[in-house]
Symmetry: C2
C-alpha cells in the first residue's frame, strides 16, 4: 500500500496509481482528522469520493502518529490526549473515537486503536501497553458495530517474545478480520524484526491477512513474505522518489548522478511504467536538478510501479510454489 | 502558449497539456542553454524528444532572460556578455549563438536575438537599441540558413511611436515568418500598451502571425486580439495555479478561501477539464492548504484548460465575425 497521508499519494493522481498497478492505498487517520477533519470528509461523501480513488483504502488508527508526531499529553485507559502538530490545539482520541473517525472517512479496512511503545522500552512498560491495547481492541470491536468495514487488530509487545504471544493470542480470541504487526521498524534492526515477525506469525491464523505496518525496502518485503506476511505499507517508494532514489531490478539508482546527464536510457530498461516508456535518465536528472515538479511525479510513478511489480511477482511465485527460487533470483539481481 | 521554461510546463505532463487542449508551448532558450545545455539536448534528439512533447514548440531568443535574470556584463554589436544566475559562470550570446542554440533545441518557431530596453528608457537609448536589434535581426536571418525552423523578428522601440514604426518597418523589410511585439508588459500600464500595440500593428503584414510576448491576463488577450494579435505566451495560467488563483468564466477564485472548505462544487461548474470533472473545491482547497504536490498539477490543468478554451472561443468568434459580441459577453461574465 502506497501511503496517501493527507488524502493524496504524494505527487500522483488516482489514474497514476491505477496505471502503476496499485490496488490499495493507505491514508492516515490522524492527519485527516486534524485537516480537513473527518466530519467534512463524511459530509462530502467519504474519502474515496473526496480524493477520487475508487479502489480499496486502509486507514490506520491514528495511534502511531499521535505518539510520533503530536505533542503527547496523557495516556489513560480512556484514550490519549494530545496537541496537534499543526496548531497546538488539544484533542482526545480513544478507541471509540478512532472507530468513529474511521467510519466517517469510510475506508474499506480500518485499524484498531493501539498504544505504540517507544523502542527500547522495559518489560513492565510493554506489558502494561499490551494489556491496554487488548482492552482498547475489545472496545473497538464493540463500537464498530455494523459499519461494513473490515477491522484489523494490531499486535504489540515490543521485542519481547512472550508479550508478542500474549498480544497475538488476545486479539485472535476477539476474531478480527485481519492482524497487523505494529511497533516494528522502529530501530530494532533487521535480525530482531525478523525474529519478532517469525515468532508472532505462529500465533496468527493462516486464513486471515497479516499486515506488517510501516515496512519497508524491497528486501524487507521479500523476507517478510517468506515469514508469512501478506500486506505492507511504506512511504519508501514515494519518499525515495521525491529524493531522487529510484528502484530498479538491478538495485537503487540516484537520479542526481552526473553520469546520467546525457544518458538516453530509461531508469530501468526492463520496466514498462509510464516514466520508463517515455523519458530518459537525462531528462529525469534535468527535471530533478532544476527542481521541476514533474520530476516528483515521474519518479513516484516509477517507484510505485516497481513495488507493484515486485508484489505481483511474489504473488505469482507463491501461486506456483517457487518463492525460494524467486527470492534467490531477486537477490542475484537486486544485490 | 503555456511556458515550459526549463523543458517542462511546471507541474504538468505532455498528456496533461494535450488533454487541456494546449496546441503549442514555449520554452526558454536562456534556461535550457545554461541547464542542461543545448548541446546535450541536441545529442538526445532535440527538445521535443527530450521532454516527450510532440506538438509545436516556440523558443524565445534568450534575450529577455539575459537582461532580466543574468548579471549583465557588456552589450556590444557582437552580442551580450553575462554571468549565469545559477552559478555566476561567464557566457556570451550574440545573434549567431542564439540561432545555433535554438537550432540545437530544435523548436518549430525560433526568435531573433534582440535587445530589450528597460522601462522607462530615454529616446536616444531606445533609438540605439532599435538599430542594434535590426542589425542583429539581419544576422539571425543570415545565420539561420535552412534549419527548417520558422523565424520571427521582434519589434522593439519602447513606448515611442516613431521608434516602434522604425523597428517594425526594418523587420518587415527582412521578411520574417512572423513578428513579435517585445518590450511590453514591463510596467507601462494597459493604456500605453494598447496604444503601442495598436500603432505598431499597422506596420505589420496581415498574412503573418503577430505575437505579443509575455502577455497576459484573460482581458489582455481579448483586448490584444481586438487589435490584431494572434499569439501570446504568459506564465500567468501556470504561476497563478501554483499560487491558488484559478480562472473561471465568472472571474478569478482563490482556492485558499475558507468558504470552500466543504464546497462540493467543481472550480467552475461549466468547465469540462479533468480537474473540474473529478474534484471538488473542498478537495482542491485541502490539497493546497496541506501543500500536497497534486494541488499544483490539478490547479494548473484547470487554468490551462481555461486559457485554451478562451482562445478557442476567440477563434470561433473571429471565424463567425462576432468578436465584438464575444468581447461584450466575456466582460459581462468575467467582470
Amino acid at each position: 500500500m502506497p501511503v496517501g497521508t493527507q488524502g493524496s499519494v504524494k505527487a500522483v493522481s488516482p489514474e497514476d496509481l491505477s496505471d502503476a498497478n496499485v490496488r490499495i492505498i493507505l491514508a492516515n487517520t490522524y492527519h485527516l482528522y486534524l485537516r480537513p477533519g473527518h466530519e467534512i470528509i463524511d459530509r462530502l461523501g467519504g474519502l474515496h469520493r473526496f480524493m477520487n480513488w475508487t479502489g480499496p483504502i486502509l486507514t490506520d488508527s491514528g495511534g502511531f502518529q499521535v505518539y510520533s508526531l503530536a505533542n503527547l499529553r496523557n495516556i489513560s485507559e480512556a484514550g490519549v490526549t494530545f496537541q496537534s502538530h499543526l496548531d497546538g490545539s488539544n484533542h482526545f482520541i480513544g478507541p471509540e473515537e478512532a472507530m468513529e473517525i474511521q467510519r466517517a472517512l469510510g475506508a474499506d479496512i480500518i485499524m484498531a486503536f493501539d498504544e505504540c511503545v517507544p523502542y527500547p522500552a522495559d518489560y513492565e512498560y510493554v506489558l502494561n501497553s499490551v494489556r491496554l491495547t487488548s482492552l482498547w481492541a475489545k472496545r473497538c470491536i464493540k463500537h464498530k458495530k455494523d459499519s461494513g468495514q473490515a477491522l484489523f487488530g494490531i499486535v504489540q509487545g515490543g521485542m519481547y517474545s512472550d508479550l508478542r504471544e500474549m498480544s497475538a493470542k488476545a486479539l485472535v480470541e476477539m476474531d478480527f478480520d485481519g492482524y497487523a504487526l505494529g511497533g516494528l521498524s522502529v530501530g530494532e534492526g533487521r535480525e530482531t524484526r525478523q525474529r519478532v515477525i517469525s515468532e508472532t506469525r505462529n500465533f496468527l491464523p493462516d486464513d486471515k491477512p497479516v499486515y506488517l505496518m510501516g515496512v519497508g525496502g524491497p528486501e524487507d518485503l521479500v523476507e517478510a513474505v517468506m515469514l508469512g506476511v501478506d500486506m505492507f505499507d511504506c512511504v519508501m517508494p514515494t519518499r525515495n522518489a521525491r529524493n531522487g532514489t529510484l528502484f530498479t531490478s538491478k538495485g537503487k539508482l540516484n537520479i542526481k548522478n552526473a553520469g546520467f546527464a546525457d544518458d538516453k536510457r530509461p531508469i530501468d530498461e526492463g520496466c514498462r511504467c509510464y516514466t520508463c516508456c517515455n523519458y530518459s535518465r537525462a531528462y529525469l536528472r534535468h527535471l530533478f536538478m532544476a527542481r521541476e515538479l514533474l520530476a516528483y511525479r515521474l519518479n513516484t510513478i516509477h517507484n510505485l510501479f516497481y513495488y507493484s511489480d515486485l508484489m505481483e511477482g511474489i504473488r505469482r511465485a507463491i501461486a506456483a510454489d517457487r518463492m525460494d527460487a524467486f527470492r534467490q533470483a531477486f537477490y542475484e539481481d537486486f544485490g
